[in-house]
Structures are given as structure tokens and as C-alpha cells.
């Protein structure tokens, strides 16, 4: 029988989600996909917060994750704007082409 | 009040800074207003000046600065240096009989200079910025009573002068500018060293700290025994005196440090020549009177003869060199050297007549030589030449110009009734009365003859007789049969125009008035001079004790 879902399960899910997100951020060339990776990382963190909140019995985790969601929305909006500008500047969203930071 | 006088041009400086460069007329007017305001405030100071107060007082420390007038005194820089004590630099200004005459002169010459600068067309904004800076620095030098403050003004003066000659000058301007700059910088290095030495040697009796206060430096009791310029350290005191003297002598300029002057004058634009001769040269002799002589009175007594010798050399050598010049402006420059020699000779006499003559000569030389340079500028504007040999017979065609120039020439050669005579006369009276400089006075009277020679000779060559074959002007007759003069590509009035009258007339009037009744200026200085003489002669050196 399946064991009762406990804290560890949440954390494992969260870790997998985080790793996927990080992988996406680090390996994808398309900026939009990188952004999606960032979203995954954020949601991994959300899961962590909610899980700890549930097993700790306090409301702080829920409140915090609500903020993160709002922030994520805002971040997405800003990030998309940046990407659009990157596109406008470099005529591409391929991050390997965008290396002007080295100068 | 003094701060206002000193920093008015700085206000103008900032106003001009924020004006666009194309607003030439506004820039000129702002400068003129600043100079005029400076003049008005100087007159107010002159009115309020109590000529019975002597300034420095012999052998008395403590509240000596109360004998100065219009004193402004604040702590300026106060730095703790731990073991080395505190660095005390004061913002200390005041006037006495020595400086008030120079303040008046500076204000006057500044106004004349602005009027004369009206025709400057090249980079007007930059020109007037520098001009105002220069004006502040000059004025500051004359009223500063803190040696450090004095030094700051002294150095600030250099830079604008360098650029004013180097940018707005004649064909060989860069050479002249750099020569002027290096020479003067060379002098001020010495001054800086002595300045530091003096700081560590002198204690302000009021606070017990080391001080740059020049009034405290006059009282030999404030010198710390055993310090570098302490009373018994006669060798270092001698070195300090000579170093300071050389620094000031370069500015005077004294033979053999004079060669920057003719070059600088010939290359400088007219208003800058006027300032240079009218005010800057006076700073050298003023520095001697204010700093050199009262600080080291016993050295001064010992070296008076040597100083007098240099004065006599200046007088005769300058006059002889002037006689040989073919360039009118160079001749006037050498005449400056000759006339500043009178100042040196008068000071070397160490008596009231001589020193008064010297200080009065500083004032008069300022006005007279300013006139001469302006007049040279007038003919240069018209003919683009200053060669004495290239004219002849101008008196027939430019009567007003000839009249003013003759007046200036005769003032310069010391004709009684014009101010130059009184100062020269008392320089001779003083130097002859002193047994030390008597032989020098006897030799130097030859300067009167040579002075008359070069002035009259150039007057004759340029103005009398008939037009020369190769003259730089044409004469033709108008419909009434009157001879009219014509300068190549000169559109303006042939004789003096209104602007030229405006700058020459005040000077001419002052020269005449002060020649007939000198007391308005001379009366200001006598009590200070008496005190200065007292300071010098009453001090007996440590060795003598």
C-alpha cells in the first residue's frame, strides 16, 4: 500500500520541479523557455512553502506563497517586457547570441 | 566690505559663466558693472578710512590688528595634526595706508581695463571670465593680512594672466606667456618655502598657536627663539629675506629678472598690458613693503644699499634700454622698469620721504603707465604697428591724441604739476637724505635726463615734423582743402573716439590733480609709512644685543 503522503513527498516533488526549472534556465537557448524555467523554480519554492506551512500548522507559509504568486506574475510581465526589448535590440531571443554583458 | 570688494568680480564671473558665449554685450556690461561697483565700494572705503590709524605698530604685539581698518577675520582652515599641532589659516583682511592706495588703484585700473577690453572680439566669454578672476586675485592680494591667504591670491593671479597673454596676445604670445608664467612661478616657490618657515617660527600671542597672521609676524617678539627664522638665526633670516625679495623682485621687475616684462607687454593685448603695468608690478613692491621689510628689519637695514643699487640700475638701465627701442610699446615697457627703479630706490632709503615717494610712485606709475599703454593701443588699433619710425607728423592730424599723449609723456618724465614729479622728487629727497643711499641718488638723477631723452625723442619722431615717406598712414585733402588722415583699413574715428576718451580722461584728470595737490592719496599713507620706518629702524637685531 502506498504510504501516507508526508512532508518528504512534497519536498521531493518540489526538488524535482526545481531541478527541472534550473535545467531549463541553464540549458535552453530560447529566452522564453528560460523564463518558463524560472516559473518552475518559483513554483517549486511555493510547494516548499506550502508544505512546510501545512506541517508546521501556521498560516505564514500560505501567506508567503500568495506573495510569491503575485510576484511571479509581476516578474513574468517585466521579464516578458525585457525579452521583447532584447528581441527589438538583437532581433533574436537566443541567449547565446546576447553576450554584450562581457564588455 | 573688503570681501565684497574682493569677490564682486567673482559674482560677475559666475553670472558670465551661465550666460551663453554669444551674449557678448551682456558679458561686457556685467563685467563693467562689477568693476564699477568695486570702484564705488573702494571710494566708500576711502571715505571711511581714518588716516591717523597707522596699521602696524612698532614693537607691540597683542591687539595690533585693531589699528587696521575694515578688518574681517574668521577662522578659515583649522586642521588638527596631532603631534604637529594645529594648522591655523585665517581669513584675515584689512587695510592700512599701504594697501588702501593700492586698493583704489586696482579698482580704478580694473574699470579702465574693462572699458579698454570692449573691442576684444575673440572668445569674449572666456576673456571676461579670466579677467574677473584676475581682478579678484589682485584685489585680494592687497587686502590679505594672512600670509597664506595672500599666497593663495598671489597664485590665483598667475593663471588668468597666463591665459590672457597666451590666448589673446600677439604673434609671439606663447613664448611670452610661458616666460611670464615660469618666471613668476619661480619666484613664488621661494615665497612658499619662506611662508612655511615663517609659520613654524611665529606664534600668535593671542592664541599661542603657530600662525600665518602677517600682523603678528611683524612683531619680532613673536618669533620663537631657536626656530628657523628665530631672532638669533641670522643666517636663515638672511636667506629668507633674499628668497622673498627675489620672489617679489621678479614681479617688480628688478634687474636682472626683468626680461619677461618687455616680452609680456609687447605680446599682451592692450587692456592686459594696462593691468600688468598698472597693478601687477605694484604687487612686487607692495609685497616688499608689507612682508619683506617689516618681517626681517635688520636684514633690510643691512641690505638697503644693495637694494638701492638695484634700484639705481633699474632707473638708468631701463631708461637707456628704452632709448634704444624702436617699438613704442617696448619703450614704454622699459620705461616701466626705469620707473619701478625709483620705487626700489625710495624704499632703500628707509626714511619717510623715500618710502612715501616710493609708495606714491607706485600709485602714479600705475595711472601714468596705464595711460601710456592705452595710448599705444590707440595707435596700434589704427595702424597695426607700433614702430616709432613709421609715423611722423601725426600732431597735425590727430591733435587730441597728441595732446593726451604729450600729457602722459610729460607726466612720465616727471614734469612738475603732474603726479609723477612728486613721487620721483620725494624718492630723491629720501634717498639723498639717507647716508646709505646718497651716492645712488646722485647717480640716479641721470635717469631724469635719459627719461626725458627717450620720451621727447619718440614724441618728435612720431608726432612732430612732417609725415615720413614710409609712414603707415595717408594724407589727402577733403573738399575744403583741409588735410585729412587715413589709416589703412581703419573705419573708426581717426582721432580719439568716445570710448578712448572715457578711459583716458579719468586717468589724465587724476594725474593732474594728484600732481597739483597730492594729499588725497599721499595723506592716506603717511602715518603707516612712518610706522613702517619706525618698525625697521627701531629694531636692533639679536646679534646687536
Amino acid at each position: 500500500m502506498l504510504p501516507e503522503i508526508g512532508l518528504n513527498h512534497y519536498l521531493i516533488i518540489s526538488a524535482i520541479l526545481f531541478s527541472l526549472g534550473l535545467f531549463g534556465v541553464m540549458t535552453r537557448k530560447n529566452a522564453v523557455v528560460v523564463l518558463m524555467g524560472v516559473e518552475l523554480i518559483l513554483n517549486a519554492a511555493n510547494i516548499n512553502l506550502l508544505a512546510f506551512g501545512k506541517y508546521n500548522g501556521s498560516m505564514q507559509g500560505i501567506m508567503f506563497s500568495l506573495f510569491v504568486i503575485v510576484l511571479a506574475a509581476a516578474e513574468a510581465a517585466v521579464a516578458l517586457a525585457i525579452i521583447i526589448n532584447i528581441y527589438n535590440t538583437f532581433k533574436t531571443v537566443d541567449l547565446s547570441e546576447v553576450d554584450t554583458m562581457k564588455e | 566690505m573688503l570681501s565684497l570688494i574682493v569677490f564682486l568680480p567673482i559674482i560677475a564671473f559666475f553670472l558670465i559663466l551661465f550666460l551663453p558665449g554669444a551674449q557678448k554685450q551682456a558679458i561686457r556690461i556685467i563685467s563693467l558693472v562689477a568693476a564699477f561697483a568695486q570702484g564705488v565700494f573702494s571710494l566708500i572705503i576711502w571715505q571711511g578710512y581714518d588716516s591717523t590709524k597707522p596699521g602696524i605698530i612698532a614693537g607691540e604685539s597683542g591687539n595690533v590688528h585693531e589699528t587696521f581698518q575694515f578688518v574681517e577675520r574668521f577662522d578659515w582652515i583649522n586642521l588638527e595634526f596631532g603631534r604637529f599641532g594645529t594648522l591655523n589659516i585665517e581669513y584675515f583682511m584689512g587695510v592700512d595706508g599701504l594697501s588702501i592706495t593700492m586698493v583704489l588703484l586696482t579698482a580704478l585700473i580694473s574699470i579702465i581695463g574693462v572699458i579698454s577690453s570692449w573691442t576684444i572680439q575673440k572668445q569674449v566669454k572666456g576673456y571676461f571670465l579670466l579677467y574677473n578672476l584676475l581682478s579678484t586675485a589682485m584685489m585680494g592680494c592687497f587686502v590679505a593680512l594672512d600670509f597664506f591667504l595672500f599666497y593663495v591670491f598671489w597664485e590665483v593671479m598667475l593663471l588668468p594672466m597666463y591665459f590672457l597673454i597666451g590666448i589673446w596676445g600677439g604673434p609671439n604670445r606663447e613664448y611670452a606667456a610661458i616666460k611670464f608664467f615660469l618666471y613668476t612661478l619661480f619666484g613664488s616657490v621661494f615665497m612658499l618655502l619662506v611662508l612655511i618657515g615663517l609659520y613654524f617660527s611665529v606664534i600668535d600671542p593671542a592664541t599661542g598657536n603657530h600662525t600665518f597672521n602677517m600682523v603678528a609676524m611683524v612683531d619680532q617678539a613673536n618669533y620663537i627663539p631657536g626656530s628657523i627664522f628665530g631672532p638669533e638665526n641670522s643666517l636663515w633670516r638672511l636667506v629668507a629675506f633674499v628668497a622673498l625679495f627675489v620672489g617679489f623682485a621678479i614681479k617688480v621687475p628688478m634687474f636682472p629678472f626683468h626680461t619677461w616684462l618687455p616680452d609680456a607687454h609687447v605680446e599682451a593685448p592692450t587692456p592686459i598690458s594696462v593691468i600688468l603695468a598698472g597693478v601687477l608690478l605694484k604687487l612686487g613692491t607692495y609685497g616688499m613693503l608689507r612682508i619683506n621689510f617689516p618681517f626681517f628689519p635688520e636684514v633690510f637695514q643691512d641690505l638697503a644699499f644693495v637694494i638701492g643699487v638695484f634700484g639705481a640700475i633699474n632707473i638708468i638701465y631701463g631708461a637707456l634700454c628704452a632709448l634704444a627701442q624702436l617699438d613704442l610699446k617696448k619703450m614704454v615697457a622699459y620705461s616701466s622698469i626705469s620707473h619701478m627703479g625709483y620705487v626700489l630706490l625710495g624704499m632703500a632709503a628707509i626714511n619717510t620721504e623715500g618710502m612715501t615717494g616710493a609708495l606714491y610712485q607706485m600709485f602714479n606709475h600705475g595711472t601714468i603707465t596705464a595711460m601710456l599703454f592705452l595710448l599705444v593701443g590707440v595707435i596700434y588699433d589704427r595702424s597695426h604697428s607700433r614702430q616709432i619710425e613709421k609715423f611722423g607728423g601725426l600732431a597735425s592730424y590727430m591733435p587730441a591724441y597728441t595732446f593726451v599723449l604729450t600729457l602722459a609723456f610729460f607726466a612720465s618724465l616727471g614734469l612738475p604739476g603732474l603726479s609723477g614729479f612728486i613721487s620721483e622728487a620725494f624718492v630723491f629727497v629720501g634717498s639723498f637724505s639717507s647716508e646709505v643711499t646718497r651716492p645712488l641718488a646722485i647717480v640716479s638723477v641721470l635717469g631724469i635726463v635719459f627719461g626725458a631723452a627717450y620720451l621727447l625723442w619718440s614724441l618728435q619722431r612720431m608726432f612732430l615734423g612732417k609725415r615720413r615717406e614710409d609712414a603707415l598712414y595717408e594724407v589727402h585733402e577733403d573738399e575744403h582743402g583741409n588735410a585729412k588722415i587715413h589709416f589703412h583699413d581703419w573705419k573708426g574715428s581717426n582721432d580719439l573716439d568716445l570710448r578712448e576718451y572715457l578711459m583716458l580722461a579719468p586717468l589724465a584728470i587724476i594725474v593732474v590733480i594728484l600732481g597739483v595737490y597730492p594729499m588725497p592719496i599721499l595723506g592716506l599713507m603717511t602715518s603707516s609709512i612712518n610706522q613702517l620706518v619706525e618698525v625697521v629702524v627701531s629694531y636692533t637685531s639679536f646679534a646687536m644685543n
Binding site: V98 | S396, V429
Partner: protein
């Protein structure tokens, strides 16, 4: 303030006001303002006459004097001296009162004369303005009560003379002459100035009275020689202004000025200022100084007379005659004939002004012809001019019944008396004086006959293509010579009248009986040690010392001298002066006799040569050619000065300028370029070692930089990876390490 003082100040300032006013407005006024100038001087003359009658006639006292002064410069409490003020003031005594009238009268007459003479000139108004400043300066000299004031006006007179000589400034000769006059005067002036300085350095005052008092009280602390030097140096001023040898060269050249100016300045007043000044300071002159003065005066009188004999220009003859007569006056002062010398100054002023104005009339009438060789026969055409000229000429030559006779004779008598006292070679002084008198008579006779008698020789004149002036007046050549207008005639008549004896004394043979020599008396010397001085020199075995001593002893016993002493009830009795006065009195008739002989001989010679033509002057000149040329070329003084002093000065000046440009400035540039060289060398060292070290450090850093910059790709993902590595590293370190 006394009325006299007030009047004298007004009289002094009026001409100045006229000058200042006219110099700015002359072109805008009717007649260019000549009436203003003449009016100012006229009022001034009236005031002077008032002062004259108050002082000379009213007081009739040789010792009368009136002073007034004010503080001009206040030096405050001067260390070592005490309160020190420089005062300016006015001194009115008999000398002043007489001089005021002389100056103003001649000035006024010259103004009137000039209205005719200068009419139509381009700068007519300016001329009258200049006359104003001259009159002002001259009155200043006369009225000054101190040495500084007299020096001031002295120089101003120099200025006015400069302006007036160079009035025709478009002529190069005039421009040269004005410069020469000013420069020569300046040389004399520096001597005078040094003399003033000597006196000031002792007494800290310029006032005559204070200085005289100081010397009398023995407060002159320098050695006796300095006092002599002071006297001689002050006399240098007179040498310059009164055109004495060796500074006489400017006066003849000064004839380039308009003729009225020659009359006013270079004959009557300015040149007399020197003599007036020596008279003012007479009391402080030591015996040695007086000897120098006498010798210079006598030599000048002689030398100028020899030159005057051969000159052709009518004005130059008069100019040299002026120099010669001034020599007489100076000699008179030197020999102690104080009053006669001053007397001669006054009489000479009138008759010489008359002669000059007369010559001006001749020149004007002869259409600017100045050469006497081309004149002649003007006697009938210009009777007024002829008559007045003759009277003045006779006065100059010293004919009895004229004023010149009285004054000149008194001077010569004084010279004889002086020689009698001093003895030995000093007899040369009267000898030179009498020789000069002879020559005076000769050259004046020559001028007279050449100009006024015989046939008119104007047509004999060779055409000179270089003479612009001549060409300008070509159209006048056909015109007849005619008498001048009344405004030019009137001054001549007045001046001629003043050249006759009765103005000064009833007795035509002895001026001493007249009012003039009553109010002017030789003042007593203040040089305290005169007596001691001679005792002293006796010790030094001076040849004349013993003789003088005897003369003093002799004079003491003489009744005449005693009465003389009694007349001068003053602190000092000066035995030397008394001896001279006594000897002079004795020599009086001898002098009359001698000078009459000389006069007759001189006139006779001139008559024989130039009127009768018995001796041909040209042939005689040819016979003694060297002498003639020596005289004609004015003893070559101009050439000598030009070759020595003037060329020397210019050479020195060029040398100095060269020295300045090449040596002094060369040194500066050398210092400049050597520092540049040093800086360059220094720069190499800097580059290799100092800069090398810096560059090496930079190189190392650059190397590492090159390595590390590889990491910096600019890709966001690289950075994220690096951050991840860092975090992992941190965790590893934290949990394991």
C-alpha cells in the same frame, strides 16, 4: 592774508586760467581768444604794478619782505625728524616786486605784439594759450618762497619754452630745437635738483628762510665742501636756464620759435630766471662757489660775444648777444656785484625785448627774411622800428644816458673791485668783461648798419631750392617793405622808453643814486665760516689768502665801509664782501673810462667796416680764416657735444639694449633651455626605470586579466552556472568541511 599776497596769487593764477581755458576752446572763440590771454596778463600786470608801488615805492626799504605759506604735504610725525610739513608759499620783497612788473609788462607787450605778428597763423589761439602758461610759470618762479616751488616752476618754464620753441612743429629744425632746449635745461636742472637735495637733507625743509637760518646757525652738518657743492649745483640750474657755458648751446637754436617768443622767453624773462635764482640763493654761496660763478659768467660773456660777431641771422646775433649779456649778469653775481647784476637783468630785459621785437618787426616786414646780408636800407622804410631799435641797441652797447650803461658799468666796476681784492689771475675776469663790451659794441654796430643803412640787398639773395619757407612767400617778393602796424609798434616804443636812464636814476652816470640800487642791496652772506674759511685757507698757503686778509684789515679801518656796515645793521658783517664793495667804489670811474673807450672803439670799428667799407669784412675773414670759422661755427660746441655726449649716450643705450637682449635675456633663455635639456635627460631615465617599474606592474595585472576575462562570456546562463557552482561549493564546504 595780506592784500598784497591775495593780489599776487590772483596775478599768478590769471595766466594759468587763460591757458587752461584757451587750450580747450581757442578755435571756438572770436579772434581765437587772444583778447582773453592779453586781458588776463593785463590784469595781472595791473596787480603787479599795485604790488610794485606798495612795496618798492611805498616801503622804499631794502629789507622789506612779506611771506605767506600753507602746508602742501603733511608727512605727520616722521621718525627721527619730528613733525614734517612741506610748505608752499609766496615771498614778496623788492626783488619779487620788480620782477613781477618786468615779467608781466614784457609779457603783456609781447601779447600785444603777437596780435600783429602771429595774425593768420594756423594755431593762432594755441600760441596765446602757450604764452599764458609761460607767464604763469615765470611768475611762479618769481613768487616762490622755497626751493621746491622754484624747481617746480623752473621745470614748467622749461615746458612752456619747449612748447613755444616748437610752435612751428612741422619744421624739423623747430622740433629739434625744442628737444635740444628741453634736454639741455634738464641737464642743468638735475644739478640744481642735487643742490636742493643737499640742502634738504640737512634741514628737512625747502624754504629759503629756514635754510638760510639753518646755515647761519651752523646746523649744516656736512663738510664745508658740500655747501660749496650745493651752491655750484644750484648754479647749474642757472647754467641751463640762463644759457651759460657749457649749456649755452640751446639758446641760439631756440630762435626757431616765433620771434615774439624769442623776445619774451629767450631774451627777457626765462633766461633771466637763472640769474634771478642765483640772486635768491646768493647768501648761501661760499667764496669758492662764487669764484666758479664769476669765471663761468665771464667766460660765457666773452665766448658768446666772439660768436655773435660772425653770425648772419639777425636773430642769432641777438641770441648770442643775450648769452653774452647773461654772462655779464652771472659774472656780476659771482664777483659780488649783486645789485648791479640784478639791475642789469632788468634793464637788459627791456632793451633786449625791444631789440627782439624790433627784429621781429623787421622780419615780418621783410617777408620772413632773417639773413642780414640780404637786408639793408630799412631806416627810411621803417622809421619807428629804426628809432626804437637804435635806442635799445645803444643801451645794449652801453652808451651813457641809457639804462644799459648804468647797469653794465656797475657790473664791470664790481669785477674790477673783485679782481683788486682777489688779485692774480682773477684780473682776467674784468679783462674778459671789457673785451666782451668791445665786441658787443662792434657786433651791434654791424647789425645796425647792415640792417638799417645802405642799400637794400634783398635781390642779391641766391635762390635756394630747398627752402620751403622761402617758396611759400614767393608771391610776397614783389611787395614793398613797409612799417608795421600799431599793435607791433606800440610795444617797441614802450620798451625803448624803458631803456633810457631816467627811469632808474636821475644821474645818468651813477646808477647808485637811483631808486633801483637803493631798494636792491647785496644781502649778507649766511655762510658763517667765511672769515674762518679764509684763515683756514691761509694755513693751506693759498696765495690770495694773505692778500684778502690785508684787504679786510684795510677795509675795516676805512670810513666808507664802516658806514656801509652801519647801513646794514645785521648780525653778520662779511669782511670779504665789504672789501669788494670798497674796491668797487674805487674802481667806479675807472670802469666808466674803460668801458667808454671800448664802446667807442667797437662802434668805430663797425662804422669803418660796415658803413664806410674801408675794410672789406669778407677779405678780412679770408685772412684769418681759422679764427673766423671757429667763431662762425660757434666754437664747434654743437659738434663736440654731438660727438661725445649725444653719440656716447646713444652708443651706451644701444649697448645696453644689446646687452639686455642678448646677455640678460640670453641667460634667461639659457636657463630655460638647459632646464629643458635636463628635463629631457631626466625624461629618459624616467621612461626606462621609473616608468618601467610601473609598466611592469601593469603588465602583470594585464596578464591575469587576460586569463580571467575568459570566464566572462556575457551569457546569462554561464553566470547562473557559476552562481550554482558557488552555492554548491558553499554547501559542500558548509556541510562537509
Amino acid at each position: 592774508m595780506d592784500t598784497l599776497i591775495q593780489f599776487s596769487i590772483i596775478a599768478l593764477l590769471l595766466p594759468l586760467v587763460s591757458f587752461v581755458f584757451l587750450i580747450f576752446t581757442n578755435k571756438k572763440l572770436p579772434r581765437e581768444g587772444d583778447f582773453i590771454a592779453a586781458g588776463a596778463v593785463g590784469v595781472s600786470l595791473i596787480l603787479s604794478l599795485y604790488i610794485f608801488f606798495q612795496v618798492v615805492v611805498g616801503e622804499y626799504n631794502p629789507d622789506y619782505s612779506l611771506t605767506w605759506n600753507f602746508t602742501w604735504i603733511d608727512f605727520g610725525d616722521v621718525p627721527g625728524v619730528g613733525p614734517l610739513q612741506i610748505k608752499m608759499g609766496i615771498l614778496i620783497d623788492n626783488l619779487t616786486a620788480i620782477m613781477l612788473v618786468v615779467v608781466n609788462l614784457i609779457s603783456f607787450l609781447v601779447h600785444v605784439f603777437s596780435m600783429g605778428y602771429m595774425a593768420g597763423d594756423k594755431y593762432y589761439g594755441r600760441f596765446f594759450a602757450y604764452l599764458g602758461i609761460f607767464t604763469f610759470s615765470m611768475l611762479g618762479i618769481v613768487l616762490a618762497d622755497n626751493l621746491l616751488a622754484i624747481y617746480i616752476f623752473w621745470e614748467l618754464v622749461g615746458l612752456s619754452s619747449y612748447l613755444l620753441i616748437g610752435f612751428f612743429f612741422e619744421k624739423d629744425s623747430a622740433a629739434n630745437a625744442q628737444k635740444k632746449a628741453f634736454m639741455t635745461n634738464r641737464i642743468g636742472d638735475i644739478g640744481m635738483w642735487l643742490g636742493i637735495l643737499i640742502l634738504y637733507s640737512q634741514f628737512h625743509t625747502f624754504g629759503y628762510e629756514e635754510i638760510f637760518q639753518g646755515i647761519q646757525d651752523g646746523r649744516f652738518t656736512m663738510s664745508e665742501g658740500w655747501l660749496t657743492a650745493a651752491g655750484i649745483l644750484l648754479f647749474c640750474g642757472c647754467i641751463g636756464k640762463s644759457a651759460q657755458f657749457p649749456l649755452h648751446v640751446w639758446l641760439p637754436d631756440a630762435m626757431e620759435g616765433p620771434t615774439p617768443v624769442s623776445a619774451l622767453i629767450h631774451a627777457a624773462t626765462m633766461v633771466a630766471a637763472g640769474v634771478y635764482f642765483v640772486a635768491r640763493i646768493f647768501v648761501l654761496l661760499t667764496v669758492d662757489a662764487l669764484h666758479v660763478i664769476a669765471i663761468i659768467g665771464a667766460f660765457t660773456a666773452f665766448m658768446a660775444a666772439t660768436i655773435a660777431i660772425t653770425q648772419h641771422d639777425i636773430k642769432r646775433v641777438l641770441a648770442y648777444s643775450t648769452v653774452s649779456q647773461l654772462g655779464y649778469m652771472v659774472m656780476g653775481l659771482g664777483v659780488g656785484a649783486f645789485a648791479p647784476a640784478f639791475f642789469h637783468l632788468v634793464t637788459h630785459a627791456f632793451f633786449k625785448a625791444c631789440l627782439f621785437l624790433g627784429s621781429g618787426a623787421v622780419i615780418h616786414a621783410a617777408h620772413h627774411e632773417q639773413d642780414m646780408r640780404w637786408m639793408g636800407g630799412l631806416r627810411t622804410k621803417m622809421p619807428w622800428t629804426f628809432a626804437t631799435f637804435t635806442i635799445a641797441m645803444l643801451a645794449l652797447a652801453g652808451l651813457p644816458l641809457t639804462s644799459g650803461f648804468m647797469s653794465k658799468d656797475a657790473i664791470l666796476a664790481g669785477a674790477l673791485g673783485f679782481a683788486a681784492v682777489e688779485g692774480g689771475l682773477y684780473y682776467l675776469i674784468p679783462a674778459l668783461g671789457f673785451t666782451a663790451a668791445l665786441m658787443t659794441a662792434f657786433y651791434m654796430g654791424r647789425q645796425m648798419w647792415l640792417v638799417f643803412f645802405g642799400e637794400n640787398r634783398a635781390h642779391l639773395k641766391p635762390e635756394d631750392p630747398h627752402d620751403d619757407h622761402h617758396h611759400a612767400h614767393d608771391d610776397h617778393h614783389g611787395h614793398e617793405v613797409h612799417e608795421v602796424s600799431w599793435e607791433m609798434r606800440l610795444p617797441l616804443v614802450i620798451l625803448a622808453a624803458l631803456s633810457i636812464f631816467f627811469v632808474y636814476s636821475i644821474n645818468p652816470l651813477d646808477g647808485a643814486k637811483g631808486w633801483f640800487l637803493h631798494v636792491i642791496k647785496t644781502p649778507n652772506t649766511v655762510v658763517q665760516s667765511t672769515g674762518d674759511y679764509h684763515n683756514h685757507t691761509e694755513d693751506h698757503a693759498k696765495a690770495s689768502g694773505l692778500f684778502i686778509k690785508e684787504a679786510y684789515a684795510e677795509s675795516k679801518s676805512d670810513t666808507h665801509t664802516e658806514s656801509h656796515d652801519a647801513e646794514h645793521a645785521s648780525v653778520f658783517s662779511d669782511p670779504r664782501q665789504a672789501a669788494i664793495d670798497h674796491a668797487t667804489h674805487d674802481a667806479h670811474y675807472m670802469a666808466i673810462a674803460f668801458s667808454s673807450i671800448m664802446l667807442l672803439f667797437g662802434f668805430g670799428l663797425a662804422y669803418v667796416v660796415y658803413f664806410k667799407g674801408i675794410i672789406d669784412p669778407d677779405k678780412t675773414a679770408e685772412k684769418i680764416k681759422p679764427l673766423y670759422l671757429y667763431s662762425f661755427n660757434k666754437w664747434y660746441w654743437d659738434e663736440i657735444y654731438d660727438a661725445t655726449i649725444i653719440r656716447g649716450s646713444f652708443m651706451l643705450s644701444n649697448m645696453m639694449a644689446w646687452f639686455d637682449k642678448n646677455i640678460v635675456d640670453g641667460m634667461v633663455n639659457f636657463v630655460g633651455s638647459s632646464s629643458k635639456w635636463f628635463a629631457f635627460k631626466n625624461g629618459r631615465f624616467d621612461q626606462l626605470v621609473v616608468d618601467g617599474a610601473v609598466n611592469f606592474t601593469a603588465f602583470i595585472i594585464q596578464f591575469f586579466g587576460l586569463v580571467f576575462r575568459k570566464i566572462q562570456t556575457g551569457h546569462v546562463q554561464t553566470y547562473v552556472a557559476l552562481a550554482l557552482v558557488a552555492i554548491i561549493g558553499y554547501f559542500v564546504y558548509f556541510f562537509i568541511g
